[in-house]
Amino acid sequence: MTELGTLHAPLQVEFDYTRSLGPTLSGFMTGLKRRQIFGGVLSDGSVAVPPPEYDSKTYDAITELVPVADVGVIQSWAWVPEPVPGQPLDKPFAFAQIVLDGADKPLLHAVAVATAADIQTGMRVRAVWADETVGSITDIRWFEPEGDSPATTPGPEGETVEGIVSPVKLSYDYAASPEESKFFRGLAEGKLIGQRCPVCEKVYVPPRGACPVDGVPTTDEVEVADHGVITTFCIVNVPFAGQQIPIPYVSAYVLLDGADIAFLHLILGIDAADVRMGLRVKAVWKPRDEWGTTIANISHFEPTGEPDADYETYKVHL
């Protein structure tokens, strides 16, 4: 059934998390912006960098921040032979736990050295600061062996940093299920392929891995028509990021003739105000040379001009 394997496509997921800061982390980030690292004083008097918001033993809020040095000692480390996107360096480096002078608990950060032979526990390292600081842990680009370069002088006090923005970008190789793959391969040939549940005999378009009613694989393949009836719809009047069609437009559930489950598509060729439940519509395919294994082969649906379907004929499919 799946001799061809499934269809795959690269998928990028991106989101900028905007995070507000409580008083503890606000103090820490405000310090970083002027190249001053702060530690939090824990209930036992020890100093932790970064400062936790609450003490893990007493659960008290950490309120006292003290300045610590931007130089310190490596407590433990790991070699990163194959950096991944977003990490501080894009060539091999080390992540290390670094106990800064004046602190007791280590900061996790990167150490820039050429090879694993150039780093060891107990080694002294110094922060390398970004040219432009914003109040983020990445204001420290990485640490490097201490050497004899002069100490960093923190800048003057500035505005309080009250939030950070963390961009997250994830890359996936997204696979369609075997059933979805068949559906998309059918589309590349101008066909709409569904599958029938062997138990309830409902025809799903697009086909799914299992009948959600019966929990059994939907195995029997069926080709359905590229025309059908609008069971329900909405008129989109609200603009949103990434919108590709001028508003107002109609998104509708189209129940294809021969299918039992409606699927969502765009309705054009009719004034939005005239779209109605029961309206008969047909697929408008793009020119054949633009087809791929995608639902976008169908540009949209438009009215067929046939009389409306009787409500009784589609009410069980709503």
């Binding site: 970064p50 070699w79 280590p106 994830l170």
Partner: protein, 353 residues
Amino acid sequence: MTRDVAIVGYSQRQMKEFDGSPTCVELLVPIFQELWGQTGWTKSDIGFWCSGSSDYLAGRAFSFVSAVDAIGALPPVMESHVEMDAAWALYESWVKIQTGLVDSALVYGFGKSSAGALRRVMSLQMDPYTVTPLWADAVSVAAIQARSGLESGTFDESQMAKVVARSMSDAVSNDSAIRKGATTAEDVLAQPLYADPLRRWDCAPVSDGAAAMIITAADAPGFAKLKGPKAWITGFEHRIEAGALNSRDLKVSESTKSAGAAAGVDGVDLAELHAPFSHQELILKDALGLGDDVRINPSGGALTANPMFTAGLNRIGEAARQVWAGDSQRALAHATSGPALQHNLVLTMEGRS
């Protein structure tokens, strides 16, 4: 008093790369069918459904909702989800049974780790303010933990190599293990370092998979018609430590120790420990106070297959299989979650004649 609850069904699939959708519905459907075969039950005998998975792994929003397709949820079912290993979905289900609200549960987990860069995706579980922006990946964090143990003399490289060798050798008889083969500690030490101090074999292989389990109270209405042996749960506890790595002593596992003490580890003859890195097995064994007479991970453990969100449940399932077969009288299973053994769960079970 706790209600007597037994593990009565378990099935799983794990593989290096699953050629299918990240919702894993195609894996779950046959797994559920196997559970009906093992137990003689149907979905109407199940009072509660609970799953463990993560959309970050799937790259798809609400993937666990799509996975509900595999159940056949009409009439509607009582269902829940945890963004954790399915071992915690089992815990939620066990608590639900203890409350008396339900009598039985089917627990499942799934994950397609191969869809993304797993160690990078896992950096999203770190502190989002001060660590995730550095994309501190799961292998690096574990390697820092390993070095803490190695350089303090808590354990040594040869002990780690023995864990790898035993796991890979034991996995030969496990059809669903991914990395396996008769291996000696010398073979392991001959491998080059990867994420110094870790070798590749010290790190679990990236794995895809799904698993499911049925548990039931002894007084469930359908209990009498159950086929097959039972593994009775005698202790079930989990403990978590602070999220900040620098607030923990990484070379020990206080949460495992505390969960083990609460669950009761006395008299166990077998332990399935969820250690995705070789040195973590040493830390866990020490935290649980397991003697050398306790068989550890006869399945090969997570070092030979570690499908995210099911590898912990698999430890419980593999231990239950040993109890069902009469090869263990009293078994312990452990699951972990979070970076560097942050959160740990211990379940003990026994066979009864």
